[in-house]
Amino acid sequence: MANKLISEVPLPKSIANVFAARNISTAKEALSLTEFELMELLDVGLTEVRSALSQISEIVAPPYQTALSLMEQRGQNEHLRGHFPTGLKGLDAALSGGIPFGVLTELVGPAGIGKTQLCLKLSLLASLPTNFGGLDGRVIYIDVESKFSSRRLLEIGLRSFPEIFQMKAMAQEMAGRILVLRPTSLSEFTQSLEQIKVSLLQNQVKMLVIDSMAALVSGEHEQGNCRQQTLSWHISFIKSLAEFSRIPVVVTNQVRSHNHDDASRYSFQVQRRDGTLEIPIRYDSHLIAALGIHWAHAVTTRLVLEAKSGQRFIKVAKSPISPPLAFPFHITSSGISLLSDDGMELMGPEINAIHCQGHNEISNFGMEGLQ
């Protein structure tokens, strides 16, 4: 709507001509200027400018919906009321049905914790027919770190849905629905995103997985500033992809070690000024998500995968629906599964901490050939 042409707005002829003569052809250009700038530029009076602006605005402004109609519409048109079940019962219950459609869900965790395993499982599930709890559609898997393993994918399939994957034809069809892209540079990634936008609706794509977002961005740009800018574009693009095709989008994020003056320790200036906030609490974690605060604002649901005293946990760190819960999980040959469906409720910023203790012991245990 933003690039709506001014010539399509029913303005009085004279004003429309002035806009055309001054080369202001889109609503975006007109609305980026202040009233005074427009008066100078178009050489017309304030009242004309105001009425023209309000007419343009009325057309450009999107129509409203009541929240009720939004809910009804989603309930009718969408399978599963807009949530994609992960098969992890406790987690699904906490997220009121599973991974939400239309927004970004992020998986953060240290290397080898099981992010890719979860991604594989989710893409497999999405490709299944609806009577097996799937979305019955294609999955686009953007594999930046070259970690996608089709052997592992089929192994998970065979163990968790033997009735489908023992038939070769079915297995072929299911695996054939998962399309893997391996961009090697940021520009290639950008290109493939643009292609995806076109093909999403045509090809029955029901889920998008990006594993991982951080690898691309941190690989190419060392300087923080530059990174922020390139990331900005990707953030809004991926968000709009999710929004308009109404599919779940799962993105993984790496961790990096925590330097002393880094994110979760910052406190607001205001508090420091009047000295009310004492020394911020030190978390025993030394890891933080690789992509910074700007990215963290953009994701709607953040799941943290971590290892604490030899046990792996998946935590709902940010979610508009779920309370802060942590679930212990382990990885078996049939993929990721929860040890308990009752989450532990965590208090405070502990939910955002990423632990990596005793992780090495478990990763040696029972995980041959997974990595």
Binding site: A2, A27, K28, L31, S32, T34, F36, M39, E40, L42, D43, G45, L46, T47, S54, S57, E58, V60, A61, P62, Y64, Q65, T66, A67, L68, S69, L70, M71, R81, S96, G102, V103, S232, W233, S236, K239, E243, D261, A263, Y266, S267, F268, Q269, V270, Q271, D274, T276, L277, I293, A296, H297, T300, A317, K318, P320, I321, P323, M347, G348, P349
Partner: protein, 415 residues
């Protein structure tokens, strides 16, 4: 710095500070209407400018006053009309007062309707001027006493957390713009949804019984969650009913969560252009839906952090938007709640969290509330308010929505 003898000055700051209209019209007068050749060499421009100074001051003297020049500039008319007026010798408002539209039309060689508009604009601003001078009771002004009275009768929108309401002086204020910011996951969107639900609490229960507009720029509005909050809100009201109004049968609640959702007007914004357009359009929308009492923008930041390269433009567009929101709040006596993101700011060699959009933006909101983690609890802190003490209070986000912090025996810490 450009200046003339009358003391009218334009400094580099004016140019940089966005006094563009002002500067442009001065330059236009110098180069176009006074027919001077455009010179490139610096010294000559300075010479020429000092010459213009004497020329304009000649005209000025004839019309008797140095500020009269300014009067024409203040009229809301287009630049070419202004140029025509000046070149015809009309620089003061009083010189326009005795003219008929047809005379002016003939003299300026413009159409009569255009002349009429100019005169209308002139008489309008003269009207403001004279009442100003006569020092009688000003039109459009309000005495502090009346304002106090108005403020007392104004309703507040509760946040569902008594501690939070307490430090806010009763809740979110109508007629004011309140900005709420904080780190990801602290509960900004939750608070936004809670307010959109709470504005609908009927009068019998101390609410406003009004409707809400929710402007979603990030796509983070979860309708399922709004439903949960609405359900809990209705449960709380029936609880209240049972305890306090046993004898009143007519106060039964016949609200359903669906009704609450139906009264939230949801707009999804996908670019900053749409955001500007929508805020321009809200004026009309709210005049058609008079019972809207809160506008929640979640978040005001998002698009302005993505697509802008030109920071000066961003500042201008943002301040224009803030002004319109403030006008809306005053005009329809509704509350405007803006949610803002937190960002990392580099000051004096250390990194600190600050709300996004920069320093000039922080002046635009009446109240600013910062949400942060303090130990294991979520806290809200009043960072800026003309009428409230700076204080902080703990709150929590529960399955039922925003509530008091569970361990709130410590209660509020006043500063």
């Amino acid at each position: 710095m450009l200046c003339d003898e009358d003391g009218l000055k334009i400094t580099g700051d004016d140019v940089a500070g966005g006094e563009k209209g002002f500067t442009l019209s001065l330059l236009r007068n110098i180069f176009v209407h006074l027919q001077l050749p455009l010179l490139i060499d610096k010294t000559t421009i300075a010479d020429e400018i000092s010459k213009i100074g004497t020329k304009t001051s000649l005209i000025g003297r004839r019309c008797n006053a140095r500020k009269l020049e300014m009067e024409i500039w203040r009229l809301p008319i287009s630049a070419s009309q202004r140029g025509k007026l000046i070149s015809a010798g009309y620089t003061s408002l009083s010189s326009l007062s005795s003219l008929s539209p047809s005379d002016l039309a003939r003299e300026l060689k413009v159409s009569e309707t255009e002349a009429m508009d100019i005169l209308k604009a002139a008489s309008h601003s003269r009207g403001a001027e004279t009442s100003n001078a006569s020092c009688s009771i000003l039109e459009g002004a309000q005495s502090a006493w009346d304002m106090l009275h108005d403020e007392e009768s104004l309703m507040h929108i509760t946040t569902s957390s008594a501690d939070l309401d307490n430090i806010l002086g009763g809740g979110i204020h109508c007629k004011e713009v309140t900005e709420i910011g904080g780190v990801p996951g602290i509960g900004k969107t939750q608070l936004g949804m809670q307010i959109a639900v709470n504005v609908q609490i009927p009068h019998d229960f101390g609410g406003l019984g009004a409707k809400a507009i929710y402007i979603d720029t990030e796509g983070s509005f979860m309708v399922e969650r709004a439903f949960q909050i609405a359900e809990a809100c209705i449960e709380d009201m029936s609880e209240y009913n049972r305890f306090l109004r046993k004898d009143f049968q007519e106060c039964k609640i016949n609200m359903k969560p669906e009704d609450i959702l139906e009264n939230i007007f949801y707009f999804r914004i996908c670019s900053y252009t749409e955001q500007i357009a929508l805020i321009n359009y809200l004026d009309k929308f709210i005049s058609e839906h008079k019972d809207v009492k809160v506008v929640v923008v979640d978040s005001v930041t998002f698009h302005f952090r993505q697509d802008f390269d030109d920071m000066a433009l961003r500042t201008r567009v943002l301040s224009g938007m803030a002004l319109k929101l403030m006008n809306l709040a005053k005009k329809f006596s509704l509350a405007v709640v803006l949610l803002n993101q937190a960002t990392i700011k580099h000051t004096e060699g250390s990194f600190q969290l600050a709300l996004a959009l920069g320093d000039s933006w922080s002046h635009t909101c009446t109240n600013r509330i910062v949400l942060y983690w303090n130990g294991n609890e979520r806290y809200a802190y009043i960072d800026k308010s003309p009428s409230l003490r700076s204080a902080s209070a703990a709150y929590s986000v529960t399955a039922r929505g925003i509530r008091n912090s569970s361990s709130s025996c410590k209660r509020i810490k006043m500063m």
